[in-house]
């Protein structure tokens, strides 16, 4: 075992490696090659009844709203990022979020939705729209730490839980699409937690400000994703405790209430 292990890299070397375009490029190549629009062309569509189809459309419309918020949030954060690595990472997140939006829109089209904008406007959960406005206000105010906390910790951690639960209960095509998204989300939530954790440790992030953001936004996002699990038809006994992963994350950050 003389070969190079990731664990034998220096801290700076590890950050340089994982926050680079080269790393992103090698990572997505692994799980997106041969999966145009997020799934293998050979994956067979499972027939959905009218009610299942309608519920899936509502879920996907809300995912599209969440991903639009994430795309606009991440793009605004590129300029605010405090260093080179964070800027490049945020640029990879921008394209990840745009891809998520694209694959969910494509899935809506597969399900026969001809005017996705109208459908999304009709079905979007008002609490999610409220969250999007709040996130973009944080970005607009150039409040880097608060915006990263809102987007990469609160939103991404809860999305990660919901997408995993949904993937386990979804039709085969939707499940494949979701698994690709989940693989991206791992990077996003990890970046958020690591970045905020370091900011709290070195004093560049203001703990009381983040607690304030947490108070303003977490109930909103929790409500949205409870509704999403309802719409996705995840049976109650298979439902994860939605807030658990998120609460563990804030606990690791030393921000438990």
């Amino acid at each position: 075992m003389d070969e190079l292990e990731p664990h034998s890299l220096g801290d700076e070397e590890f950050d340089d490696e994982t926050h680079s375009f080269e790393f992103w490029f090698g990572a997505v190549e692994g799980y997106l090659s041969d999966r145009p629009y997020g799934h293998r062309p050979a994956t067979v569509e499972e027939p959905l009844d009218k009610r299942e189809r309608d519920r899936l459309i509502t879920t996907l419309c809300n995912y599209c709203t969440g991903e639009t918020a994430a795309l606009e949030g991440a793009s605004g954060l590129v300029r605010l990022a405090p260093n080179h690595n964070a800027k490049i990472f945020m640029a990879t997140q921008v394209v990840d979020e745009a891809r998520h939006l694209e694959v969910f829109l494509r899935r809506l089209a597969d399900l026969g939705v001809s005017d996705p904008d109208a459908e999304i406007a009709r079905r979007a959960n008002p609490a999610l729209l409220e969250f999007k406005a709040a996130l973009l206000a944080l970005v607009g105010n150039e409040d880097w730490s608060a915006a990263v906390f809102a987007q990469n910790v609160i939103l991404e951690t809860m999305e990660y839980t919901v997408f995993r639960a949904h993937a386990d209960n979804a039709d085969p095509v939707t499940a494949e699409v979701l698994r690709g998204v989940i693989s991206d989300e791992r990077r996003h939530l990890g970046f958020g937690e690591t970045h905020i954790g370091r900011g709290l440790a070195d004093g560049s992030a203001d703990r009381s400000r983040l607690q304030e953001v947490r108070g303003d936004l977490e109930a909103m996002v929790l409500r949205v994703f409870e509704d999403a699990l309802d719409d996705a038809g995840v049976p109650p006994d298979e439902r994860p405790e939605l807030g658990r992963d998120y609460l563990e994350a804030v606990d690791r950050l030393g921000m438990a209430l």
Partner: protein
């Protein structure tokens, strides 16, 4: 237990067991790093002495030698830096270092 124990003698300094790692199909990092990670299958998934669960993204992190408390461990899929600690019941856990 997912990796063959190496036939090589344990490291003379700390007598740890060493392992030959194989790529177990985790494809979310560039090729050269893939064998250092695997998917976690849930609470029933028994971890080998050279494996530890990332508390942030729930991926199993692997090494060519068994883990011991105090070891530095990196999760590339979520970019978290951690240290190995002894948890309740003596089980090894990874604790995030900011």
């Amino acid at each position: 237990m997912t990796d063959a124990e190496s036939s090589a003698p344990p490291n003379s300094r700390d007598s740890r067991r060493t392992y030959e790692l194989e790529d177990l199909g985790f494809n979310e990092v560039p090729k050269k790093w893939r064998k250092f990670y695997r998917h976690w299958t849930g609470p029933g998934d028994e971890l080998a002495p050279n494996e530890i669960l990332c508390p942030v993204c729930k991926v199993v992190i692997r090494s060519g030698r068994e883990f011991r408390p105090g070891d530095k461990v990196y999760c590339m899929p979520c970019m978290s830096r951690m240290v190995v600690v002894e948890g309740p019941g003596g089980r090894l856990e990874a604790e995030v270092v900011f």
